[in-house]
Symmetry: C2
C-alpha cells in the first residue's frame, strides 16, 4: 500500500463520512493491511463515530449464525436502519484469506446499499483481531451504519473476546447439541445479553430453554439486566422480529440505566492498554538494536543461561528505566 | 495465599525438583492464583527445566482428545517415561473453575505416581492462559516429567495459540464431521506436526486421510518435515503405538535438523515480549495516579473528546518518555 497524499486521504475520509461503500471498503483494506497507514484516517474519523450500536454474535459452528445475522439485518433494514456486518472468518494458510467469502453472502444483499458486509480473516492473531475489529467498527460507524453485527466463527475464548467488544452480545444455541453443557463450557453464560435458541423446531428446544432459564435465574447479573431468551427458526424467518425487539430492549436498558456509558468507558480502557502494549512491542521490534538484543536474550533463555523473567526486566529497564517515577501525574 | 518465607520456599523447590507430586500441585496452584508470589520459584526452577518434550493436542469437541491423551500417556509409561498432562478446560463462571475436573480422570491413573494430571481453567483470558501454561510447564519440566501433553478444548484461535507453545502439535480429526472443511477453517493445517484420524473405524476415514494427504503434499512445509497421518481408535487402543512412534519420529527430526533450537528460541522471544507487555500493563494499573489518568482518558474517548490513538501516545510518553532513545544498546 503506497502512502496516500494528504489530499487523497481527505477525499477518502469525506467519502466515508458520506457513506460511500467503495471508500468504506477501501479504507477497511488499509486498516487490515497497514495499521500505520490507517492511523491518520482513524484519528479523524473517530470524532464522527459513536452513533452505532454493535451486536456481537457467538455460538457453535452450525448453529446458524450467518442466517440469523442476515435475517436480523433485513429486519433492521425494514425499519430504515443502515446495517453493517463484520464476519470474523478463520483464515486458511493456503488462501491467505477468508474462506467463507463475503461474495456469496453479498449476492442476496447486493442491490441494497443500506447493508455492508465485510469478512475479516483471523490470521491466527486474536489480539490483533480484536484491535482490527474495533478499527473497522469505527470506519463503519463514521460512515453512518447504525447497527453493526460482529459475527464470530466458533466459541473459542478468542472469539468470545471479540464478541465482548460489542455493545450487546447474542449467544446462539441449538437444541440437541449438548448445549446445556456447552453453555457452561466456554464461559459464555456471563457474556450473553440475549440468548437465541435457533432451530427451535428441533426436539429439545423446551428443555434447553428451561435449563437456560434456571441457570440465569440462579445467577442474577450485577447490572440488573435479565437476559431475554428468544426462540427462532432463522431459515424460515420465525422469531426474527421478537429477536430484534429484544436487542432494542437491551439497548434501551443500557441507555436508560447509564450502563452503556460505564461499559463503553471500560471497553475504551481495555483498548487503551492494548494500544499501549502494541506500541511497546512495535517499538522493540522495529528497532534494530533492540530486536538484536531480544534475539540474544531469547537465545540465552533457550540454553537456560538466563530465565525469561530476568530477561524481561532487563528489556523493560532498557526501554523505560524510570517507569515507576515517570507515571506520577499532577 | 500468604507470602512464603524464603526457607519454606526453598523446601518446596527441593521437593518439586525431587518430583514430589504434592509439592508440584501446590506450586501450580500458586502459579495460577498469584503470579507475583510464583515468580521467585519459577526463576529458580527455570534453570533445572528444559528436559521435557511437550505435545499440544487440538481438535473439535468430541473428537476424543482426552481418550487419546490418556492412551498415549499409558504408552509413554510403558517405556518408562514420566508423563504430565495439562488439560486446558473452559471455565464456568458459576463454579469458577474447571468443570471437566481432573478428579474423574485421575481415578484411572491414581495408583501411578509417574503420571501427573492438572486441569487449568481458561477464565476468559487467553493471553494469560498461554503465559500460565508456560509456567506450569516449567514446574512439571523441573519436576522430571519427560513428556507433557497440553490438551485444549475446542479449536478456537486462542486454543490453537496455546497448542502452538508446545514442541509438537497434534491435530485430531474424526471422519464424517466435515473435517475436510474444518481443517481449512481454523487455520490448523499449518500447525499440525502430526495428524491423528481418530474413530478411524467410522465411515469416511479413508476419504479424510486422502484429502488430508493431498492438502499436505500440495503445501510442503518450509522446515522439511512431512507431517505423519496416523489412524487410531483410541477407545480400543488401536494405533496408539504408531502414534507414539510418530511423535518420537518428529522429536528426532527436530533434534537432528536443529529445528528444535530455532523453534524454541522463537517461542522464548514471543514469551519475552508477552512478559514485557504484561509488566507494562501491571505497572500502569498498579499505580494509583496512572490508573486514574487511564480512567480519565477512557472517559474522554467515550465522549469523543479524544481519540484512543492520541491517548495511547500520551500514556506511553508518560511511562517511557525516552523510549526510542533508551533502546540504543552498545
Amino acid at each position: 500500500m503506497e502512502s496516500q497524499s494528504k489530499e487523497s486521504r481527505e477525499k477518502i475520509i469525506q467519502k466515508v463520512l458520506a457513506g460511500n461503500a467503495r471508500a468504506v471498503a477501501q479504507l477497511i483494506t488499509i486498516v487490515e493491511n497497514d495499521p500505520g497507514e490507517a492511523l491518520p484516517y482513524l484519528r479523524q474519523l473517530f470524532r464522527h463515530a459513536g452513533n452505532c450500536f454493535s451486536i456481537g454474535i457467538t455460538g457453535a459452528p452450525g448453529a446458524g449464525k450467518s442466517t440469523l445475522v442476515d435475517q436480523l439485518a433485513q429486519a433492521y433494514r425494514k425499519i430504515g436502519k443502515k446495517v453493517g456486518i463484520i464476519a470474523i472468518d478463520p483464515s486458511s494458510p493456503f488462501t491467505g484469506g477468508a474462506i467463507l467469502g463475503d461474495r456469496i453472502r453479498m449476492q442476496s444483499h447486493r442491490l441494497d446499499p443500506g447493508i455492508f458486509i465485510r469478512s475479516m480473516a483471523t490470521r491466527g492473531r486474536i489480539g490483533g483481531l480484536t484491535r482490527a475489529t474495533e478499527d473497522v467498527l469505527t470506519v463503519m460507524d463514521s460512515a453512518g451504519f447504525e447497527i453493526v453485527f460482529i459475527e464470530t466463527v466458533g466459541v473459542g475464548q478468542g472469539e468470545v473476546e471479540v464478541a465482548k467488544t460489542a455493545d450487546a452480545t447474542i449467544v446462539l444455541l441449538v437444541p440437541g447439541m449438548g448445549d446445556d453443557i456447552q453453555l457452561m463450557k466456554a464461559g459464555i453464560m456471563e457474556i450473553g445479553d440475549l440468548f437465541v435458541i435457533n432451530k427451535a423446531d428441533y426436539p429439545g428446544a423446551e428443555k434447553l430453554q428451561a435449563g437456560l432459564q434456571a441457570l440465569l435465574s440462579m445467577n442474577p447479573r450485577s447490572d440488573g439486566w435479565n437476559p431475554y431468551i428468544v426462540r427462532t427458526v432463522a431459515t424460515e424467518g420465525n422469531g426474527i422480529e421478537e429477536c430484534r425487539e429484544s436487542i432494542d430492549a437491551f439497548r434501551d436498558f443500557l441507555n436508560k440505566s447509564g450502563r452503556r456509558r460505564i461499559k463503553s468507558v471500560q471497553l475504551q480502557k481495555n483498548r487503551l492498554l492494548e494500544l499501549v502494549t502494541e506500541r511497546i512491542t512495535q517499538t522493540l521490534l522495529n528497532n534494530k538494536e533492540a530486536e538484536a538484543r531480544i534475539q540474544e536474550l531469547a537465545s540465552d533463555i533457550e540454553t537456560r543461561k538466563l530465565d525469561p523473567f530476568t530477561a524481561a526486566e532487563e528489556l523493560l529497564d532498557m526501554l523505560c528505566p524510570d517507569r515507576s517515577k515517570n507515571i506520577i501525574v499532577e
